[in-house]
């Protein structure tokens, strides 16, 4: 056990920053084939000609990581994971809108 407090400068990964597909595979714990299939199904849009040279936007990491978790933990296939991620994102966006509308309604005069 170490109690030492280390100081670390954080390096910000810009949303627009492109990350190599191999790095994404490590980060999201996905096999390269799974990333290719997820891209073919439209979950992410890589740039580059061949998958070996692909790069993906940093902004895609959370949804790829979620797809990876759902596939591993729930035993669903790639198509199912894409559908689940898109539906969950849509659900969260709707919940955000509902909260925003509830705030607006609460500000209306009685």
């Amino acid at each position: 056990m170490s109690d030492a407090v280390e100081m670390h400068e954080a390096q910000l990964v810009g949303e627009a920053e492109w990350i190599a597909a191999s790095e994404i595979c490590r980060l999201c714990r996905l096999e390269p084939d799974a990333v290719i299939e997820l891209a073919e199904l439209g979950l992410v849009s890589p740039r580059g000609y061949a998958p070996a040279q692909w790069q993906l936007p940093a902004a895609a990491v959370p949804r790829l990581a979620m797809a990876g978790r759902l596939m591993r933990d729930l035993g669903i296939n790639v198509s199912g994971a894409v559908l689940a991620v898109e539906l969950l994102e849509a659900q969260r966006e709707l919940e955000r809108q509902i909260r925003r509308l509830e705030r607006l309604v609460s500000q209306l005069p009685e």
């Binding site: 170490s2 030492a4 949303e15 790095e23 933990d73 689940a84 925003r100």
Partner: protein, 324 residues
């Protein structure tokens, strides 16, 4: 250390078949998966289920677990027998692999002491099947922060647990504290990378990085939309009608803002560059909300009466009239 009843956690009988266990795990995983579930404590419950399934789906681990006997109760103080797991053959079935492949030592983080002692690091089960990672993996964690921190940056202290391989081949979960400097102007969903703070690599290889996914908590005053923030500003009717200079809070400190004469409730004014920093920086939108003073005194009533008399031609509902 407390005993864990893995059969109870997965809701199956001790006589359950492998297929029953798999079905029950799948059903519960669907209910408690942290990405999907809205249940309270979903994450904790899901970890417990993963731990239970890790043992019960593997015939060798299940047999060894069953050997402990069925008299134990969940939560009961437990110490493994001295000859624990002796007499078993290990086929090398360490952690199972999913879509990710490779050695998944990191996933065991959050499993109980009970699991770690019986099946983790130093146990023959783990030693049989572990592979040496070539380079440390990147770790991924979530960090919640307030809008003020996103605006101004700051330092945060994080307690992290990192599995490390000891020279004798056993695994140890080391706690360490990292102080992170958050740059000013970060936004919801952005990633922060801490180089070398992921999984350590054995044999001096490159340690993985730690990626922190930032989540900005909802704020009492401001709504965040990209880099822009919106503030609802209550104003008096005379401030709206005659115009006024009003002191308005912004993330960077209060500023004076000119409300133009004839302003209306719902109108938005923009304070350029007063949102989250960046290039370009976001703006603060100030949405006006005219608040009508109550007519709760003779003087106030008289004023409203006078307004009705003198401003009688004003029709706030003119737009509602049917148009030809």
């Amino acid at each position: 250390m407390e005993y864990r009843d893995y059969y109870k956690i997965l809701g199956v009988a001790r006589t359950a078949t492998a297929e029953d266990i798999k079905k029950s795990y799948r059903r519960l995983a669907r209910k408690y998966h942290p990405d999907v579930s809205k249940e309270k404590d979903a994450e904790q419950k899901f970890k417990e289920m993963q731990e239970a399934y890790e043992v019960l789906k593997d015939p060798e681990k299940r047999a060894a677990y069953d050997q402990l006997g069925s008299d134990w109760k969940s939560g009961q103080q437990f110490r493994p027998p001295p000859d624990w797991a002796s007499g078993f053959e290990f086929s090398g079935g360490g952690r199972s692999r999913g879509a990710g492949g490779g050695a998944h030592v990191f996933e065991e983080e959050g499993f109980s002491d009970f699991f770690s002692t019986l099946f983790g690091g130093a146990s023959p089960f783990a030693a049989a099947g572990r592979r040496q990672p070539q380079a440390g993996r990147d770790h991924h964690a979530r960090m919640d922060l307030d809008l003020e921190e996103a605006f101004g940056g700051g330092t945060r202290t994080l307690d992290l647990k990192r599995p490390e391989l000891k020279p004798d081949g056993t695994l140890e979960l080391r706690s360490h504290t990292v102080r992170v400097t958050i740059p000013a102007g970060v936004n919801d969903g952005q990633l922060i990378r801490l180089a070398g703070q992921g999984e350590a690599a054995p044999g001096g290889g490159r340690a993985g990085d730690l990626y922190l996914e930032l989540h900005v908590r909802p704020h009492r005053l401001y709504q965040l939309d990209g880099r822009d923030v919106t503030l609802t500003l209550p104003i008096a009717p005379w401030e709206a009608a005659l115009g006024a200079t009003i002191t308005v809070p912004t993330l960077g400190g209060a500023v004076d803002m000119q409300v133009p004469a004839g302003a209306q409730s719902g109108q938005k004014l923009r304070l350029r560059g007063r949102g989250l920093p960046g290039s370009p920086p976001g703006d603060e939108y100030v949405q006006l909300k005219v608040v009508v003073p109550p007519a709760n005194s003779p003087a106030a009533r008289a004023l409203y009466e006078e307004m009705r008399a003198k401003l009688g031609s004003f029709d706030p509902r003119a737009d509602l009239q049917a148009r030809p």
